[in-house]
């Protein structure tokens, strides 16, 4: 706990704090908002914070972009290679994959919302819940089990 008030620790790790704030904002939106589109937006914010978290891991202090200093004949200057510190490109590649997955999820979610809108005429979660509860109640009444020894 004493570390939280250590200014050097705080400024060195402030980006983690911001990522967590963004993450929790995204999760809160998913849980709290009843509009289905807003839930998808919250999910996107949540995923964006995770992407930022990953990319921040890749930065090496004093590192430059991870590209070989080649000329257009693919020749690498061997002396220029000495002493260059590169940032880690792997987290960037992982995040590229995760971004594509996020896009696929978002578009699928939006497509489902369009179908739900056409089917239920609303995209508010509470209204949909009410409609579904009515449907279930109708089903239960219609198919009320005759030999209800348990209920």
């Amino acid at each position: 706990m004493g570390q939280l008030f250590n200014l050097q620790f705080l400024t060195g790790h402030i980006h983690y704090l911001l990522f967590i704030i963004l993450m929790m904002t995204g999760l809160f939106i998913v849980v709290d908002k009843t509009n289905l589109v807003k839930k998808i937006i919250g999910l996107n914010i949540f995923q964006a914070s995770v992407f930022m978290f990953y990319v921040s891991i890749g930065k090496v202090t004093g590192g430059t972009a991870p590209i070989f200093p080649m000329d257009d004949k693919y020749h690498v200057d061997k002396e220029a290679l000495q002493g260059i510190v590169y940032s880690n490109p792997l987290p960037h590649v992982l995040i590229l994959t995760a971004i594509v997955v996020g896009i696929a999820t978002t578009s699928l979610g939006l497509a489902l919302i369009i179908r739900i809108r056409e089917s239920f005429n609303t995209i508010d979660e509470e209204d949909i819940l009410n409609i579904e509860q009515e449907m279930t109640r109708d089903d239960n009444n219609k198919h009320r089990d005759v030999a209800e020894g348990l209920t």
Partner: protein, 524 residues
């Protein structure tokens, strides 16, 4: 200028070397091929042939690793830990066999069921999605790289959301079920990615064997521990662990019958495999926090799941919904087997994965046949069909008995081993006596809800205006193949027991160890 001294010696790979990859590649290529050909008539045969090939490959892989050891396949020739590797050992091959077997056996059933429940213009895309789901599940299990697990997890999850939403043709609640599943599943997968990011921060590698070594070197610092927490929660959502199971009842009830058969037997099992892999191979069970997490979290949640889900299942009036809640309870048994943390417990969990897959697929197939003939799965709609559809209901009886764990069916051995595992640990902690009593009591609850089905099917008069006849042959054959396997694996248990025991020993052995790198097939 060709300078051959710079190029390493290379021996050509044989088809046998490529097997771990072909396991995933065959269904993966079938999906775009189905879309490209666009023909409705070719979609099902293509899907069936590639599933059958995947099954053959998985059996061949199982035969190679039956006695222990592992096969490693390097993608792109980059040897691990730099490159992605597919790593098949006994646990892997066991789950691969289950998934591809269920995938193949269900397809003839799906041919009839899908024609009935889904508009025909969607059929070729439906089978393409099915193949993508199969690819994702197989890839999730076959791979030895942690981020690759996430990629395949998302491939299978996204296709699952689409497949579940296809039930909207019959009941529009399938759309909201798919939407809820999407939100919860994506949150779960993102939690998994966060945990993985923490592991990467702490160790610098993503290869599961290398992760195991580096975590063992480091000991348990806060990053590694929070990574574990995130990964367990994320995967727990996919496995339908107790408080994270809310997506399952609706998704299984409103999805098309063929989809429910496929998903109930494979999706949670593959995620459970990944969970086991992370708990046992990546994080060694000797880590105190692993044992603590398992005992304090898994054990109570598994027992609550077993009881509450069985209890809710007993009150259902819809056969499909009842089976969905029963699935949650059965996952509780598997988690209990993991939490008991002995060799017998782990063998029981692995055996129960297989047996539950068989029994649930069989039962959901029965439901599908009943839905085909009567249009619904409510008890009032299916009452008395025991006489009109004798073969279907006979298969349902076998599946129900296997679910309860009656001796002679496959379910018995796993429940028996579970109780035995709990009793093994009584000497060190007498609470485990309560655990074993809990297992027996919840099995009695299972008897309640299964007996209710038997009563509805056999002891009631059929509806006077029902025109139900026996299910078509393409549905009956897969059902009776699965029923036969339930009985066969119940009576001759050695094959599965040996494999599951070997797999459990391999898991408990812990760190996968990069030291035997001479076993890899990559270029040196």
């Amino acid at each position: 200028m060709a300078n051959t001294a710079l190029v390493a010696e290379h021996t050509a790979r044989t088809l046998y070397d490529h097997l771990p990859l072909l396991q995933v590649l065959v269904p993966f290529c079938a999906a775009p091929l189905i879309v490209l050909l666009g023909s409705r008539r070719l979609a099902w045969p293509l899907a069936f042939v590639s599933s059958a090939v995947a099954l053959i490959i998985s059996v061949m892989l199982m035969m190679s690793v039956r006695e222990g050891g592992y096969i490693s396949y390097t993608m792109g020739g980059w040897s691990p830990p730099l490159g992605i590797e597919y790593r098949i050992d006994t646990v892997n091959a066991y789950v691969l066999m289950l998934i591809s077997a269920i995938g193949t056996v269900v397809l003839p059933f799906a041919y009839v069921s899908v024609k009935d429940e889904i508009p025909s213009k969607n059929h070729s895309l439906f089978y393409a999605c099915w193949m993508l789901c199969l690819t994702g599940l197989l890839g999730m299990v076959a791979t030895g790289d942690a981020f690759n697990v996430f990629v395949f997890l998302e491939i299978s999850s996204l296709s699952t959301y689409v497949l579940v939403a296809q039930g909207a043709a019959r009941d529009r609640r399938a759309l909201t079920a798919a939407y809820d599943y999407l939100i919860m599943g994506t949150i779960g997968a993102t939690f998994f990615v966060i945990g993985l990011g923490m592991l990467y921060m702490a160790t610098g590698t993503l290869n599961m064997a290398d992760l195991a070594d580096r975590i063992a070197d480091q000991g348990a610092n806060r990053t590694v521990r929070s990574g574990f927490a995130f990964i367990v929660v994320g995967l727990g959502l996919k496995v339908a662990m107790f408080p994270l199971h809310l997506w399952l009842p609706k998704a299984y009830t409103f999805a098309p019958s063929a989809v429910t058969v496929f998903l109930s037997a494979t999706a949670t099992k593959a995620a459970l495999y990944v969970l086991m892999r992370f708990i046992f191979s990546v994080y060694h069970p000797d880590f105190s926090f692993t044992t603590n997490a398992l005992e304090i979290i898994f054990l109570p949640l598994a027992i609550i799941a077993m009881f509450s889900a069985s209890f809710i299942a007993a009150f259902q009036i819809n056969f499909k919904r009842m089976l969905a809640y029963s699935s949650i309870a059965q996952v509780g048994y598997m988690l209990l087997g993991i939490a008991i943390l002995t060799e017998t417990g782990l063998t029981a969990a692995l055996l129960h994965m297989f047996n539950h897959g068989l029994a649930k697929a069989l039962l959901f197939m029965g439901v599908g046949a009943l839905v085909l003939r009567t249009g619904g799965a409510f008890y009032t709609q299916i009452s008395g069909l025991g006489r009109k559809m004798p073969l279907t209901c006979g298969a349902i009886v076998v599946g129900g008995l296997s679910l309860i764990g009656v001796p002679g069916t496959a379910g018995f051995l796993s429940k028996w081993l579970l109780v035995q595992a709990a009793l093994e640990r009584v000497s060190e902690n007498s609470l485990f006596l309560l655990v074993s009593i809990a297992i027996v009591l919840s099995s009695l609850l299972a008897v309640v809800y299964v007996w209710r089905v038997f009563e509805v099917l056999y002891l009631r008069e059929p509806n006077p205006d029902s025109t139900a006849t026996e299910a078509p042959l393409m549905m009956l054959i897969p059902m009776w193949i699965l029923a036969g396997s339930c009985l066969w694996f119940g009576l001759s248990t050695d094959f599965l027991y040996d494999i599951a025991n070997q797999a459990a020993l391999g898991l408990l052995d812990g760190s996968m160890g990069m030291l035997d790198s001479n076993k890899t097939l990559g270029v040196e």
